[in-house]
Symmetry: D3
Subunit: 316 residues, 6 copies
């Protein structure tokens, strides 16, 4: 193939890919040079949160109790700085997305040149981002308190665990639950997009997919964990334990008059305190698994289970 031939293919392909009709759905239009939330930066935010919440385990310095406040101070300040910018990017992003959709749906003129450029990715959003990041910082002590209960639960629940330290360093459940708890706090503070990015990071690393919208009590643990799915409107009490492959899912979802799914309706299970669900069980719909109930492995559960109930497999 001659260089000339390739240049021809190249320029022709670039021309096609630069046509508005080609990139309509898939292009992100940045406002005023605002960047997108960055997975790389959010990864650092999560690392900083871990270094703060589990001092001595993450981060590479040698702490003692005198110098602990220096390290926590620097980490908290840096976390605030990064998070504030990410939240601002998330807030801007979501404004853009709405318009993209309107454009794509044909509700506004397709002509790109006519797109009104709103200027409000500005002072108000910055102020909101700063307040939100500060509010998250203020919740860190409570976050640490709850995560400590999860560590204890994982240690007590696994005969193979040799120390809290091993649990914190090695157990994927701790990683997934930490990201979930961080993401859930951010979602509670009305931060868009970023909570989902943070739980998907943990999903990728651990195979555990917890939607940031779920509500989960203390002393929560997941053994092994690959394949676990916890849907957006799930509610989980205290002292609950799940095994690998467990799904807390939606059975089906109602459509609106246009045939689109109605968003925000409670559609995932409620697990009360001290429930255990064994591996690969699937629990679907807004049902309640009562306090202290046990769900056997590989089961498909679509009706509520009373407190203390115990449902098991028939023989294979």
């Amino acid at each position: 193939m001659s260089a000339l031939d390739f240049t021809h293919i190249l320029t022709e392909t670039v021309d096609k890919l630069s046509q508005p009709e080609s990139y309509r759905v898939l292009m992100h239009r940045h406002r005023d040079g605002e960047p997108l939330p960055s997975a790389k930066v959010l990864r650092e935010v999560v690392e900083l949160a871990r270094a703060i919440l589990f001092p001595g385990y993450y981060g590479n310095s040698t702490l003692d109790s005198r110098t602990l406040s220096y390290h926590i101070g620097v980490s908290v300040e840096r976390l605030y700085g990064l998070l504030e910018k990410q939240i601002r990017a998330g807030l801007c992003f979501c404004k853009d997305c709405e318009e993209d959709e309107r454009l794509f749906d044909g509700r506004v003129a397709a002509s790109e040149a006519g797109l009104p450029v709103s200027a409000d990715c500005g002072e108000a959003l910055s102020e909101k981002a700063a307040r939100t990041a500060a509010a998250f910082v203020a919740r860190l002590p409570e976050l640490r308190r709850v995560l400590a209960t999860d560590v204890v639960a994982a240690y007590n629940g696994d005969p193979a665990a040799t120390s809290y330290g091993e649990v914190i360093c090695c157990y994927p459940a701790i990683r997934a639950i930490s990201n979930y708890r961080i993401a859930h706090e951010l979602l509670e503070l009305d931060v868009p997009l970023i909570p989902r990015i943070i739980t998907e990071m943990a999903h990728s690393e651990t195979g555990i997919d917890i939607h940031p919208g779920a509500k989960i009590g203390s002393y929560f643990t997941i053994d092994h964990g690959t394949g676990v799915v916890i849907g957006a409107t799930s509610i989980i009490g205290n002292n609950v334990k799940l095994y690998q492959g467990v799904t807390l899912g939606a059975k089906s979802f109602p459509l609106d008059s246009d045939g689109n799914p109605i968003k925000g309706i409670p559609r995932h299970p409620i697990l009360e305190d001290e429930v255990i669900v064994y591996s690969n069980a699937t629990i679907l719909g807004r049902i309640t698994i009562g306090r202290g109930a046990t769900i056997g492995g590989n089961l498909w559960v679509t009706e509520s289970v009373p407190p203390g109930g115990r449902i098991v497999q028939r023989k294979g």
Copy 2:
């Protein structure tokens, strides 16, 4: 332990590990200094493809419609340059592998010194690699068109999705399907090894294992996705949706007269348009799930299902 003792262990171990009989199966002999395909470079190739296909979402520059063609031009040219070298490496690699096998099977003399060194990792392979990389580049606009349908399907199918942007940034299915579609194009162009490396990257990140050989229509989506397996000869129509843990597998495979599996026989399911398969269902063998059929979760399906059919779990 004295330094002398360690030196002794070290040199003895190195000697053992340098014996040909030790490394026969496990060593790769490079021809003429040809490198192997590099996972790191292929990762960059995939990143570039994403930056081209989803402009504004990947890559870190602020685009507008005037400068879009600059960015796409540079990305396409760089993608071509990297891919051409990787394809060449893949083509050389496979020639070597054949010989490794012959050696290991004892079909040729074990003596390594006698290995004939072929010289044809040369001009012809370079020309083939260049043509193939250019052909891939020419298919990018069509790739973008199909991926846009997958984004729309993921958005429409998930009540929790808030925008196309969230789907593109966060959803593991989009990552897995993008890698699959890129890999499938390369496999169609007879590129060895590299397609599998690209789908395994997505498998590692998402837990979704789509063989590059599968054929998949438009508006395809996978919810949550961890544990999904789609085998090499699967055929999937348009508007199909899978949930986590679904397997499209082979029931068994015929052996040849030497007891080795016969390669290349159709052995995975066909899913026609608008099929839905719920979580952890397993569909095995060259059966057909008819248009619009629904397969319930946790099922084990080894026989065809007629169009519009609906098979569900018995109660747990």
Copy 3:
């Protein structure tokens, strides 16, 4: 929000997070500046082991048989150097953890100032770390021999596999089994913490969770693999094959008089030679699956299966 307001939130949060009662469970107290085992360094250790065990596939140099010993020599020496330091860190870590627990359980005075600082993260541990790392190095040739059988098994068991090279480069099972075999050797040498970190790395990358304590014979393979769990006291013979989602788990575990699980009791299955277990099957408890038996997919098995037995699904 004024800068002053933020400073107030920041300093107040830092103060809370620096209180001993806040970080009791979650803080790691380093002795004498001893670092923790580092996931990043252990990743390099595993990369080095792969470069040694599969020469030419990992690492980026072009080998020939004359220069092979140079490369193996340098890699082995570096692996030894890194591993020795990591083992030492692991040995120190575990001493600390014990005390953390005693403190947390209230068995020792909570006052942190009164914590007796033991000085024995010193010479003796260094000597032990050096001997252990050298013992690991001496086992590398045997490790390579066994891994070669796993490569052959993966190739023979998959009709889609085109060469040993493709198996080594792409198959997640090889990655998970390599990490397991490395980790198992280290556990056999009484190395704490690090074996689990190494198998969790592979768990994160592949979704395959093999506890380093399991005993696994040669010619072992796992197809696809996401969701596989192999518990700490499992015993697996030669020529065994598992598919994705298979669990070898514990049924339940006895508690001691304080209600804590008794550690170290055999509680996972034994799979004899030539067993096949299909996808998503769950095998629980100290039962035996006899030589040559086949376990069908999605099954829940809690009783032993005789040699040659074949248990399958009832129709979906």
Copy 4:
């Protein structure tokens, strides 16, 4: 030394270093989190400018005339984006500095708490930064035209030069003159601080110290260059050549009534067209070296030289 002893030294030292009277002169107070201009980012700005001005020599892509505009487009856009942020940082920085001085001089109350926090590192500075960066971009074609004359002059003036390419790749004079010409444009656009950072980068790499305020004509070259100093108010015509160690300096500078040097007075030499100055010559004060004059090496020149003049060393 016990850990306790060290903690004592550490905390005591940190306390001392955190006292305002300790850091008064040496601390930079950032306004509203504004960063300082970054040497690392400015290094990238200069690299981008080189990639634009000398296409094909810097940057790592293979250009042809069709794809040239893609590359230049992306580089120019990125240069603009980085430079705009750096200029903004520079503008903020300088406002802070003034106050630091007033504080230090005792002209304002030393009490740090009372420092009025101005809010004007805001919209106006951003607008100014954007306009300035765009104005710089618009001057790039002219910058390239002048730098081409410097390359030709270096090639023609050195019998050891083998091609323009060698001059561009290797000659420190080209590096120093490029940085100077970039910095001079920025200074002309009233950018503070950054021009000096850019010329000091070249000073560090080449030993050639050209103040960005100097005015230098076309076809300018410096041979070897280490030790050359060209002061802030120097004026150099076309076709001038300097050798290593040449100083164009100030003889002395008048003080104001407070004994401080009066800033901004012309105090460095004027070199008219076609002047040659040999190695280690020192030319001081606002004197004029006339057109075509030659100054011998190691000389100390403090009086004007007429056009065509030739002053040389007495014998050593």
Copy 5:
């Protein structure tokens, strides 16, 4: 050239380079795996020292007076940790070097096998390293006090300087003097090798070569600086200013009875307070330039100058 030919050249060359007689002078024998002092780590030590001494100018965080102590605390602790290890490496290094020399000089048997391996790179050196690093840390407040005077001197002495901030960020003299003052403190604490590495870093970056052994008062400044050399036994008072290319050197040095230079004899000039030396002047030998004297540029001075003296060039 065939691969075989190259392998032959390679192995032959490696064999030659591995012969003890080839590497005798040039090889460093590490004791017990002790690393060498690392230029890269020492660069970080110097960066940390700058971040501590000039808060807000180096390092990339946004400081305010409340959070200043967090940042200084973390930086000081990290500096201590790195420096302690570097000093230990330096102490071990020097013991080795002595032996290398004895070997090379033939004072001990050339046979390498017979080299007695001392074991004393151990506890005692560690203790010494820790004490020394802590002593350095304790001197940081005084170091900052003196460096502030140098910043003021540079600002006052240069009509082109616009703020203290510009001086701190841009002036090579501040970089060279900072490194010198850090290195001088370490030399006073009997740290071997490392002080010289630190001043050579600044020499490389700035062209200013100050031996760490020199003694220099406060309010010291150097203009431009390239080519300045200040010898090991120089003594410089307060308020001294040097220009580029100034040498404070040794005239000649006495030899011992073996013809080797006698080390440690005062052999460089003394400059009393308020001396100015103009560019490229050379002052040689243990002479005294009296208080307030001025030395003109390009001069060669080998005899003392009385206080207030003023020596200048004869006309060029």
Copy 6:
């Protein structure tokens, strides 16, 4: 400034910079995607050469005499691989440059489209590059032998030197002379461009500018070194010592009939064995400084000096 305004400036500037008449002199046209020699890669080549020549000082592994050959083997093989590609790039580069010049001079048609694309950056150049890199490798033992004499000379010549190790680690002269000796070998092997890049690296780091064409005997040393210039046709005997700022330059150079300098004529000084030249002396033209002569500092020497001669400064 509106986004629209900037887009206009951007596209207009890019158009101007993409015009052939704008980039004629300054653009490098790569043949067939051939890369340029890379300063970054050559830096690694030099680092590898240092790790080979001074084992234990550069590179970060702990060597002992048993494992030395492993390390040297790996380093030599990697050096060969990198250098071979760089030499090939250098050979291609120079062919292009010739054409650039012809184009620029107007000797060929300015039309870029008509440029004949030669195809000979191919097999023959690759073979030449491989042979040349191998020849360089074969000279490494001799290079080490000579560099050892330079280390001894630097140690013996400096009363402040405390060990050979300090000289190797810290002295800029060793760095500059190493690069020169490597570059000189490559120039002797007719490698274009790369030798100059390598000596300019050292020039930038040390301020010592030795042209790779100079011929320099053994036991050569330079004290301090900043500002030293050694021209392309200089010849230096054994046991010669230079101080900082010394120039061995050309007095003037004859022009050909077109007024261009005639290249390749001997025009720099000859220094016979045991010559010493003190700081800032300038020696110009093809003169001879006889065996054992001493040249005083700051002198300007344009006539030969007899053996044993001693010329000094008149009093300042």
